[in-house]
């Protein structure tokens, strides 16, 4: 199976959630963690893309260029991407973003309007940027038309073309149909970006991969417009369970959220409904009511609750064996 490339958009799609109030310091805290986790591409900037800071979409306190410079100061390995919507941002804005440190761009149009991206995709390629074609609101057109538009973006030089579910309106069956057809028609890789508005973001991401997509978007805690995106942490957990080849470390992605994003959000008065302990229950395959017990035991013996749950999973503990939790945590504390 092909390697899966993960783009994290916490600092771009998540910009909507914080009303475009991410500061360069916030960016540094989050982007550093994402890079260490092995995220392939980090997207950042105003939620509506370059120069999206307007009356119409909401002003941001910092320019996209200040945010890119901040990210570039800590990111060593990942590609740094900006979003560009033709009709809002221009090629000139992209040149400035490149100077600030962007190494990739996602050129986004409505799913039937790919031809307005020609000048931007071509210019991005000439600038040497990794260039992604992003066909938004993909639920609003049929598969045949979506493929036609994707082929246009490919012909302009896009390195990857996305079926983007901007409304979170697609079901796994829709994703399967659209991605399968795009995969068949295009030579370049296919990507998928989901929103969790119908609670199927993860399922859609998996459906996309099964249909041949190799570029998948997530965001920490699923931070993003509407109900948010696919949670990067959950995506990595599920991909591990499915034995997909990818480059992201699960614990480090969780740490980027817990130690990077969550404090930043708390400072802004936001407390996302993220429960990574619960995710670990599913990931390790232990009885759900173990969660609170494991959390208490981890605190008591000063060990990582994730390791406790993983070990319980390895030992195939079943429902009712809460007593094993204490033993596992205690044993781990002796090894530390």
């Amino acid at each position: 199976m092909s390697r899966i490339f993960v783009t994290d958009t916490t600092l771009r799609d998540g910009s909507h959630t914080v009303s475009h109030r991410f500061s360069p310091d916030d960016i540094i805290k989050v982007a550093g963690g994402l890079d260490k986790a092995g995220i392939d591409m980090i997207e950042l900037g105003h939620g509506d893309g370059l120069t999206g800071s307007t009356i119409n979409y909401g002003f941001s306190e910092f320019t996209d260029y200040e945010l890119i410079e901040a990210a570039a100061s800590v990111v060593k390995k990942a590609k740094l991407a900006v979003l560009l919507l033709p009709g809002i941002g221009t090629v000139e804005d992209l040149e400035r973003a490149k100077k600030a440190g962007a190494t990739a761009v996602r050129v986004a149009t409505h799913c039937t309007e790919a031809d307005i991206s020609m000048q931007h995709i071509k210019a991005a390629k000439e600038m040497g940027l990794w260039t992604v074609g992003f066909l938004m609101m993909a639920h609003l057109t049929d598969t045949e038309r979506l493929v036609e538009e994707a082929l246009k973006m490919e012909s302009y030089g896009a390195d990857v073309v996305y079926a983007t579910d901007s409304a979170g309106a697609m079901l796994p069956v829709d994703v399967t149909e659209k991605v399968t057809a795009m995969k068949k028609a295009l030579k370049v890789p296919i990507g998928h970006h989901s929103h969790n508005n119908l609670g199927v973001a993860i399922s859609n991401s998996i459906a996309a991969i099964e249909a041949g997509a190799t570029y998948i978007d997530g965001s920490l805690s699923g931070l993003g417009a509407g109900a948010g995106n696919t949670s990067t942490e959950t995506l990595i957990g599920v991909m591990n369970r499915m034995n997909y080849d990818h480059g992201v470390d699960l614990y480090k992605a969780m740490d980027a959220s817990t130690n990077g994003l969550i404090p930043v959000l708390n400072e802004k008065g936001l407390s996302p409904q993220t429960n990574l302990d619960a995710m670990m229950i599913g990931y390790s395959g232990v009885y759900s009511s173990f969660m609170l017990h494991a959390k208490r035991a981890a605190e008591r013996f000063n060990v990582d609750v994730r390791d406790v749950l993983m070990e319980l999973g390895r030992r195939k503990a079943v429902g009712g064996q809460e007593d094993w939790i204490i033993e596992v945590a205690h044993e781990m504390s002796k090894k530390n």
């Binding site: 119409n56 009709g87 221009t90 409505h110 031809d115 307005i116 020609m118 000048q119 609003l140």
Partner: protein, 292 residues
């Protein structure tokens, strides 16, 4: 007496729509429409009984009778055409974002001196629709920042607009400052493929220094009347409302349904403005003699 003869370069959406509008003019007559190759647009014009040529601008330059030329090609092409038309002594109305000559928005800045020039630029459809509103508000409230969101139906946006969307937004933004009088500006263009197609819609946000909403409303109303003289389908959707120092105004442009159906108000407004200038030019030059 004859009407003033007009040439058109580029038989796309804009050029073909102009044929209808010029055909109704009492002062102008569409004499020749040219392209650099045979095309559906050329066939369409032929069916309308208009003389055509596939020799491009050269065909127009050969005809001394043609006094006014509408260039509906692209910015790059107009940069080539402009000096040739000037040399041939023709009055050029530039409907591309090339802006070789100054911007003209008839309701705001058309005067006699503009008609003495050899080349006038028509900004963009969004510019023709929104600059007058910004200018009206600026007159009474001093606009520090103007931001417009222009939504047009996908069907009414031709390949020229699509391949040059940056020029479109940059030109419109510049006209909001240069002609509208805003200190700073931003333009957002959205294409919407909904069926049936949406009407051209423009939201005009202005950040003002003197937030006197009554004076602003009056100024906008007066301006709308001025525009309606040459764009009958221009209408207010949301009269100016204010929150803090930000004024929001929305307008809609219903077209006349000439080449494209009424939803294409964007074609109508730029073409109506161009024809308005050409007619004023013809009236000034011949004092109305030619059509008597």
């Amino acid at each position: 007496m004859d009407r003033v003869k007009v040439g058109i370069i580029g038989p796309g959406n804009i050029g073909l729509d102009l044929l209808y509008k010029l055909g109704r003019s009492e002062y102008l007559t569409p004499e020749l429409i040219v392209n650099i190759r045979h095309s559906k647009g050329i066939e369409y014009a032929e069916k309308m009984g208009i003389r055509t040529s596939t020799e491009g601008v050269a065909a127009i330059l050969k005809e001394e009778d043609i006094e006014i030329v509408f260039d509906c090609t692209s910015a790059t092409a107009h940069e080539v055409h402009a000096p040739l038309l000037k040399e041939a002594g023709k009055f050029a109305l530039d409907l591309t974002p090339a802006a070789v000559g100054p911007y003209c928005v008839p309701a705001v800045n058309m005067d006699d001196s503009m008609l003495e020039l050899d080349n006038v630029n028509m900004v963009t459809c969004a510019g023709q629709a929104t600059v007058p509103i910004v200018a009206a508000i600026n007159e009474v409230a001093d606009v520090a920042y103007a931001e417009i969101v222009s939504s047009i139906s996908s069907k009414s946006a031709g390949p020229g607009t699509r391949q040059n969307i940056d020029e479109f937004t940059v030109t419109t933004a510049r006209a909001l400052r240069d002609v509208g009088g805003a200190d700073d500006s931003k333009v957002i263009i959205v294409l919407n493929p909904a069926e049936p197609p949406i009407y051209m819609r423009n939201t005009i946000y202005t950040k003002v220094k003197n937030p006197d909403i009554d004076a602003i409303k009056k100024a906008v109303e007066d301006m709308v009347e001025k525009i309606k003289v040459y764009v009958p389908g221009y209408q207010i959707l949301l009269e100016p409302i204010i929150q803090d120092d930000i004024v929001t105004t929305m307008i809609q442009v219903e077209g006349l349904g000439d080449y494209l159906p009424v939803y294409s108000g964007n074609l109508d407004i730029i073409n109506a403005a161009a024809v308005n200038i050409a007619e004023t030019y013809a009236k000034k030059k011949y004092g109305g003699e030619k059509n008597e």
